[in-house]
């Protein structure tokens, strides 16, 4: 229901703009949706979606695989924090997309370089959020762990991990937007599948209806990812457990 309301707002502004401009560069929404529905059958839209989804998913998984242990270690060990936090601050603002040629040379022009580019970009905000989550664990819980003689493994599984889990989900929500825009850029080179490719291909061929169709699919993919993140979070962390 709330998604529908958001959709109607977007639709309203889209129509207003299309009326205002009234040229092929901003086609009417119903034309785009009709084209999208028609092309669903013969065009490879589902394949484009699937490839994009796969790249984002893999990029996120790879990023978290590195960000979780790094964030944990930096949050827990003061000496690491002193050395690595400034390093992260230094590297975080670098435009990673500018290093695209490097990624392409190192990891080829296939899926791997796209996935790693997304992973590298997500890694920084995710690590910092997790680090802050670890630092903000109430000391009362750590005292409790000490008083009840928890092993360091139990401290990790019973106290630290559940404390940072909500942080991981919020970092995912923050990075979905970033990863979608990076995905778009990464799919504009050496691709035959992916939403970035469809959008750019249609653009080059001045097929603006098709281009907007790709943009709509990209935004639907984002929405889908947000819904998935919310649902998984509700499943993993019940509301009463907060």
């Amino acid at each position: 229901m709330r998604y529908l309301r958001g959709f109607l707002v977007v639709l309203f502004f889209w129509y207003a703009l299309a009326l205002l401009v009234s040229g092929p560069i901003i086609p009417y929404p119903h034309v785009v949706f009709a084209h999208l529905l028609a092309s669903m059958i013969e065009a490879k839209n589902h394949l484009h979606l699937l490839f994009s989804f796969y790249r984002i998913l893999m990029g996120t998984v790879v990023a978290l695989l590195f960000a979780i242990p790094s964030g944990l270690a930096i949050g827990r060990v003061k000496r690491l924090d002193r050395v690595l936090s400034p390093t992260l601050y230094l590297l975080y603002p670098l435009p990673k997309i500018a290093f695209l040629p490097v990624f392409m040379v190192l990891f080829g022009i296939g899926d791997l370089s796209k996935i790693i580019l997304i992973a590298v970009i997500i890694f920084f905000p995710a690590t910092l959020t997790i680090r802050d989550g670890v630092k903000q664990i109430p000391f009362q819980y750590l005292e409790l762990a000490q008083a009840y003689h928890l092993t360091s493994r139990q401290v990790l599984t019973d106290i630290i991990w559940p404390s940072i889990l909500p942080r991981i989900f919020s970092s995912l929500r923050i990075t979905v937007g970033i990863s979608l825009s990076v995905l778009f850029v990464s799919e504009t080179y050496a691709s035959t599948y992916g939403l970035g490719y469809t959008i750019m291909n249609n653009w080059v061929m001045a097929n603006y209806v098709g281009m907007y169709g790709g943009i709509v699919l990209l935004s639907l993919l984002g929405l889908l990812l947000y819904i998935v993140i919310d649902k998984v979070e509700q499943l993993v962390i019940p509301a009463q457990a907060k």
Binding site: Y141, E143, L144, A147, Y148, H149, Q154, S163, L165, I237
Partner: protein, 231 residues
């Protein structure tokens, strides 16, 4: 069971307490009273191994794992169900005993609830069950009932006392309430920053002495004050 010799705890340049000595026999119930800031909580933390002594020694029969501390706040983990909170740090084999203890504190039916669904009194009971599930020889209570209403507080005091007595557990209660100290302890110790200032094994008869040593109003004065206030 517990021997403390000339113990001192410092936070940097600040001394929490010093020159504190105490010997507790097995099954003894001791209350420690004192004004806020006299180092009562620091003493319990030092016994539980959360603070290190800057001087003196603390020996617990059976080692530090034989003692269990119940904090002032319940400190239940919000992401764990009640029974899992009780089992904190223990394996699945402790589940049965954890459920038994929850039944004992009247919360058997709430074992699968989350702490956020419990009242303050219920949460404190869970914390009590958590401190008992390890079958400690020495139980340390740090003003465990300060946040509770009077009826709940009195019932919990009764329950703990009965449990501790039947299981032969040595009890050390720290409180600023003289009434609570007299009710819970067979022996009362008045603590100051410079160590033990007064001790009695006959709390009911020396109630007035305890009060004056803590620095409270005389009982007569307080009663008059209370009556005056209620009018």
């Amino acid at each position: 069971m517990l021997t403390i010799c000339d113990a001192q705890v410092c936070y940097g340049a600040h001394t929490a307490f010093s020159h504190f000595s105490l010997h507790a026999k097995r099954g003894e119930m001791i209350s420690i009273v004192g004004k806020s800031g006299c180092g009562k909580t620091s003493l319990l933390y030092a016994i539980a191994g959360l603070l290190s002594l800057s001087q003196g020694s603390i020996t617990i029969e059976g080692g530090s794992t034989n003692c269990s501390l119940m904090f002032q706040q319940d400190r239940l983990l919000p992401w764990k169900k009640v029974v899992e909170n009780v089992m904190l740090g223990l394996g699945p084999e402790s589940r049965e005993y954890a459920q038994l203890l929850l039944g004992l504190v009247g919360l058997g039916h709430r074992r699968n609830s989350y702490p956020s669904q419990l009242s303050g009194g219920e949460r404190q009971r869970v914390a009590l069950a958590r401190s008992l599930v390890r079958k400690p020889g020495l139980l340390l209570l740090d003003e465990p009932f300060a946040s509770l209403d009077e009826q709940t507080r009195e019932r919990l005091q009764e329950e703990i006392k009965a449990y501790v007595k039947t299981h032969g557990i040595t009890l050390l209660v720290v409180t600023h309430s003289i009434k609570e100290a007299v009710f819970m302890g067979e022996r009362i110790i008045v603590m100051t920053k410079q160590g033990l200032s007064y001790e009695t094994a006959n709390p009911y008869h020396e109630y007035e002495d305890i009060r004056s040593n803590v620095g409270a109003f005389s009982l007569e004065k307080e009663l008059r004050f209370q009556l005056g206030g209620s009018r």
